[in-house]
Subunit: 152 residues, 2 copies
């Protein structure tokens, strides 16, 4: 079974975000082995570039397999396109890692390292909501690939 | 104070969606008078066009003021663009209504009637998550317009 990791910076404080994520993680269990790797937001530094540098090190130490960075400047995908992408990746990888940056985004080092960048649109989402949207889109991708009427 | 209505088809079943929406409604209270108008999904008919026709009648009976339809085929906006749009609309309207369709979308009649259509990207979201994203984007628009660091 595919190992599907989601590396994210910043934890979920509110219970409703935790429950929304749990709901999709539960639904995904029959398709893949989902693991959420939650990294702490750096708060030791006042300078954003320093924060990103430190968070970047943690991100790069946590990724494995084929990596996809969620990036507003990445290739904008539809749900159908993401489903095709996931299906193709699964044919060559036993592990896929999605990365969601923290409230300041990610460092240039991370952007340079992770070539595969997808965007869900031009709107900026908070990291907690972005995590829910990503989980729903991964679930939707499996629904599309299995021909379910979840996605019509 | 601006009256800001969100007309949506389909109710929120899970508590976590209700709580996520409540959180943003609460935060919006100091900027506008938010009202969620929840219409029932039609389940009397098997034919999608008939469902959309009936839901469409309800939608059109519920809208007032300046209307914006969330439509995947609408003009794709960034959070900044939405904030400018809202600021401009507020100068001429005392009431703004956003419309989110049900799981089958909306009828052609609704699409023809509501000229102003915005898209948050190419991905398809379920109606419950779309409602949360819309509320967060409206809140973000107010944060952008008030110069808050919520949106950096």
């Amino acid at each position: 079974m595919l190992k599907l990791n989601i590396v994210c910076v910043g934890n979920l404080k509110e219970k409703f975000w935790k429950e929304a994520c749990s709901e999709y993680q539960k639904r995904l269990q029959r398709f893949c082995n989902v693991k959420i790797i939650e990294l702490a937001e750096q708060n030791k530094y006042d300078i954003v570039s320093k924060v990103l540098e430190e968070e970047g090190k943690e991100i790069l130490a946590s990724i494995s397999g084929s990596c996809i960075l969620l990036d507003i400047q990445g290739e904008e995908v539809s749900s159908e396109k993401l489903s095709t992408k996931l299906r193709n990746l699964e044919q060559n990888s036993s592990e896929i890692t999605f990365v969601i940056g923290g409230s300041n985004g990610v460092s240039e080092t991370v952007k340079n390292k992770i070539k595969d960048k997808v965007s869900f649109g031009k709107i900026t989402l908070p990291h907690n909501l972005a995590r829910v949207v990503l989980l729903e889109q991964i679930y939707r991708a499996y629904m599309i690939n299995s021909g379910s009427k979840y996605h019509k």
